[in-house]
């Protein structure tokens, strides 16, 4: 009896195992979409309360870097017409780091910058006073007919200028700086140190109706 049982002990044929695995593999290959949650983050301004009058902020014209995009995707940068975005990022960088009329705090900030960023400061009295809050603002205004991709391209270039400044301050490349997750205290500290005192002041104006 025992010997008979032993003889009948079934063995699953493993020859078709590979076929089954292939079948499953092909199914997942076809259905897979590698998720991408990447994009450009933008914080919208708070909603307008009709009971509270909008704060009356006086900014000097020299502290605003105007970028306008019309319905034909043509650009007006600081009252100059142009039809491509070449060199825009560099101009924004020079505008932010102009230090035209720094106060005491801004002067301390200037002294803390690495030499490569100090070199960008032209101290032009016609351009922004300092990059701290209340200083340089980049304003982007579009038309209702502007293409979304053009708007994003401009926003992307302005963000790039800021990220390059932040990265330079902590001795990283812009790509490395953006990849800082803030998951651990070390990365969080680096991120804070990069952006300290230079807020990302990008104003996105509502298009004309």
């Amino acid at each position: 009896m025992a010997s008979r049982m032993k003889k009948e002990a079934p063995e699953i044929p493993s020859g078709s195992m590979a076929d089954i695995a292939f079948l499953l593999l092909i199914f997942f290959l076809v259905t897979t979409t590698i998720a991408s949650d990447r994009g450009i983050l933008n914080i919208l301004p708070p909603k307008v309360d009709p009971n509270v009058p909008p704060p009356d902020i006086q900014l000097n014209e020299r502290n605003i870097f105007n970028i306008r995009v019309n319905m034909n995707d043509q650009l007006m940068v600081e009252n100059d017409y142009r039809d491509n975005t070449e060199g825009l990022s560099q101009e924004v960088k020079e505008f932010i780091l102009n230090f035209g009329a720094p106060n005491e705090e801004a002067q301390a900030l200037y002294n803390s910058l690495p030499p490569s960023l100090k070199a960008l400061a032209r101290m032009d009295p016609e351009s922004s006073d300092h990059p701290m809050s209340g200083g340089a603002v980049v304003s982007i205004k579009t038309d209702r007919g502007t293409g979304y991709d053009t708007y994003l391209e401009v926003l992307d270039l302005v963000k790039r200028a800021y990220f390059e400044i932040y990265a330079e301050r902590v001795g990283l490349t812009a790509d490395e700086y953006r990849a800082l997750s803030g998951d651990n205290p070390g990365e969080e500290e680096l991120r804070k140190r990069g952006s300290a005192d230079i807020p990302m002041a990008i104003s996105i104006a509502e298009p004309d109706k």
Binding site: S14, M17, A18, A21, F22, L24, L25, F28, L29, T31, T32, T33, I34, A35, S36, D37, R38, G39, I40, L41, N42, I43, L44, P45, P46, K47, T142, D143, R144, G145, T146, G147, Y148, D149, Y151, L152, E153, L155, D156, K159, R160, F163, A174, D175, R178, A179, S181, G182, D183, E206, P207
Partner: protein, 153 residues
């Protein structure tokens, strides 16, 4: 002649015994990375390109809005429409939709809700700014302009 014979003998066939293992390994990789699409896209989606992309930490905080030309132009026309979950909505419904999405989150996380705006590159700024206005009304101010990677020069 003897030399040739030796050579022939040396070339044995590759063992296929580990083939299932290799296939299983690939299978597991795709099983882990796969995200079964929860909804059918009703609008065209060709995301714009950008270089300064950021990745978000918490996926649970993200809600998606799709904007683009409807795929079924006979039914929905050719003007850009907004898709939330499975249906096409109008700008007036956004506030309601945001509040529904916020209800799914825990109370502490509600103000951190992020709207991933997956807009087609053909869309004009008009509809986009309307959406942004509604999002401000709904107090969902973190917006992620979803885009694909463009190499920096």
């Amino acid at each position: 002649m003897a030399k040739f014979k030796k050579k022939n003998k040396a070339s044995t066939s590759i063992s296929v015994a580990s083939l299932p293992d290799i296939v299983f390994m690939l299978l597991f990789f795709f099983m882990v990375t796969t995200v079964l699409r929860e909804q059918d896209l009703l609008v065209e989606q060709k995301l714009p390109q950008a270089s300064q992309l950021q990745k978000l930490q918490k996926k649970s905080l993200i809600s998606y809005l799709y904007v683009g030309r409807p795929r079924n132009t006979a039914l929905y026309g050719t003007e850009p429409r907004i898709q939330a979950n499975d249906v096409l909505i109008t700008t007036n419904d956004i506030v309601l939709w945001v509040n529904q999405e916020k209800d799914k989150l825990s109370e502490a996380e509600r103000d951190q809700i992020t709207i991933s705006l997956k807009a087609d590159r053909e869309v004009k700024m008009g509809p986009i700014s309307d959406i942004q206005f509604e999002l401000r009304e709904a107090d969902a101010r973190r917006v992620l302009y979803a885009s694909t990677v463009k190499a920096t020069d």
